[in-house]
């Protein structure tokens, strides 16, 4: 104790490399390839799902590029919250911080629910019926919270291993079914012709966008590691951009294999489409491998979500946007331990008491609001701090084209969500308006106004 207190302060540990950043981003998202994306097939058929996959791919490439540029200069926990604080202002920062915490905590809860469902599926396949899913849901959350509590290096090394295995499973399934090795069982021409090509026309393509986001939702979480990577200016852009490329490949391969094995009417409502595809391939090895991949993808996502939600909560508390008590760092493990602990019961309540589609919709909507903020963020960043004033680790090309493309695609995604979940969309926007009023009229008086801007940046242009 005495030795530790001699240093007078304690902060998060800078121990991560680019591979951990990749594992954080891809780990959160890859579960979307294993399940969820296929509801886009139900909305508009297989072609619509492919178009949604690539449109969403463009959206997230813009997200990754914009994020990489800004984060390579803002090497602090909190990710987009910290960016908003420095570039836009306190009210935007407060909202973005909440979007982050809700998006990741809800996604963590959804992953835990899915983990329980997967264990139940395995039990049913082995002849046991009536399994109680609750202990497995709770175990997933408690184990991952414990891992996060004990240190970021072990947490994200664990994510790296299980994410790599889950990604390898997708590649192996593709190689085994595409005809590269042996005879291909895929029947694209038969399953995607005639009325099955575009069952709901172009409106179906638009509606498919809602679930097309699942292929990539969460890749922006890499920025939360900014305060814990050894070389933020290099590792964050590298890990994030490598992550979005990995996901574009995994998404396309997933679509290719699944749409060639299952008719759109079935695929559009399947619970675990990649696992189903492995079963349809007739190979026991593939079935077991993809089963393990599904479970690992689910755990990796929940693990990354705990990491990211706790960093966002911690960063907000450190600036007194929330009670400063949450801004504590564990002296031995160097983690934001009180933020990790605080979010555990919240995740448990949603995992045990809320329907999964509502939980996921809340997560997607919070994510969408966050993406809508990004174009504004990068335009203001370039205007206030032009390229020659701050050295970036990465400069994204074609500015402001990615910002406008992102804004247009967000508009399209909002409309797609409105078609299916209009009430939730309106309710959530109302919620954020209410908490904004609370922040403006009450909480802002406690904010550590002078101490929150600690980056050694020059004054903004025109200041």
């Amino acid at each position: 104790m005495a030795q530790a207190q001699q240093t007078e302060h304690v902060g998060l540990a800078r121990v991560l490399g680019p591979a951990h950043v990749w594992a954080l981003g891809v780990g959160i998202v890859l579960v979307g390839e294993y399940m969820g994306w296929n509801f886009s097939v139900g909305k508009g058929g297989a072609y619509a799902a492919l178009m949604a996959c690539w449109f969403a791919g463009i959206l997230y490439t813009c997200v990754a590029m914009i994020d990489s540029e800004v984060t390579s200069t803002v090497a602090a926990a909190g990710g987009q919250y910290t960016q908003a604080k420095h570039i836009v202002g306190p009210l935007m920062a407060f909202n973005v911080g909440l979007y982050l915490v809700f998006a990741y905590t809800m996604l963590e809860a959804a992953n835990a629910i899915t983990f329980g469902f997967l264990v139940d599926t395995v039990a049913t396949m082995s002849g046991h019926s009536g399994l109680d899913q609750r202990p497995f849901i709770i175990l997933a959350i408690m184990f991952l919270a414990w891992l996060n509590y004990r240190g970021v290096l072990a947490t994200l090394t664990f994510n790296l291993v299980i994410t790599a295995i889950a990604f390898t499973a997708v590649i192996v399934l593709f190689l085994a079914t595409s005809g590269v090795v042996g005879v291909s069982p895929l029947r694209h021409a038969e399953l995607m012709s005639g009325a099955a090509a575009m069952p709901y026309g172009w409106l179906g393509v638009l509606a498919a966008m809602h679930f097309g986001l699942w292929y990539y939702l969460g890749i922006e979480g890499t920025t939360q590691a900014a305060e814990e990577v050894r070389s933020p200016a290099r590792s964050l852009p590298f890990g994030t951009l490598a992550g979005v490329m990995t996901l574009a490949i995994a998404a396309t391969l997933t679509w290719y294999v699944c749409s060639g094995l299952m008719p759109w009417e079935y695929l559009g409502q399947a619970g675990v489409p990649l696992f189903d595809a492995a079963r349809l391939s007739g190979s026991t090895f593939l079935m077991v491998f993809l089963g393990i991949g599904t479970m690992f993808a689910t755990l990796a996502s929940a693990n990354g979500c705990i990491n990211d939600a706790s960093r966002a909560w911690f960063a907000m508390a450190r600036d007194r946007y929330l009670p400063g008590w949450f801004g504590a760092v564990h002296p031995k493990y160097r983690t934001p331990y009180r933020s990790i602990i605080f979010l555990v019961p919240i995740a448990l309540i949603f995992a045990l008491g809320a329907p999964i589609d509502q939980v996921i919709t809340f997560s997607i909507l919070s994510g969408l609001l966050e993406y809508t903020f990004m174009p504004l963020n990068i335009i203001l960043f370039r205007r206030k701090w032009p390229l020659e004033t701050i050295k970036r680790g990465y400069e994204h090309p074609f500015h402001p084209l990615p910002a406008f493309a992102l804004l247009a695609l967000c508009g399209m995604a909002f409309f797609a969500v409105f078609l299916g979940y209009g009430t939730q969309l309106v309710a959530m926007i109302a919620f954020y308006i209410v908490v904004s009023l609370w922040f403006h009229f009450w909480r802002y008086r406690f904010v550590n106004r002078g101490a929150q801007f600690t980056m050694p940046w020059p004054k903004p242009k025109g200041y």
Partner: protein, 57 residues
């Protein structure tokens, strides 16, 4: 009682152990160190230090 019933009990038990470790360590940490020390982390510490050294150099 088959294997899955035992696994259910094992999952309850393991969850309780992880929870117990977290809570006990949390109490121990909070009672060992001062609040000022635990909440002493500041954003951009390393960057500010690097910048300072750069100016000195």
């Amino acid at each position: 009682m088959d294997l899955w019933n035992y696994l259910e009990y094992a999952a309850w038990g393991a969850s309780a152990l992880f929870g117990l470790f977290i809570v006990l360590n949390w109490i121990k940490t909070d009672s060992t160190y001062s609040e000022e020390f635990l909440t002493s982390s500041r954003e951009g510490e390393l960057e500010a230090l690097t910048e300072e050294q750069h100016h000195r150099g």
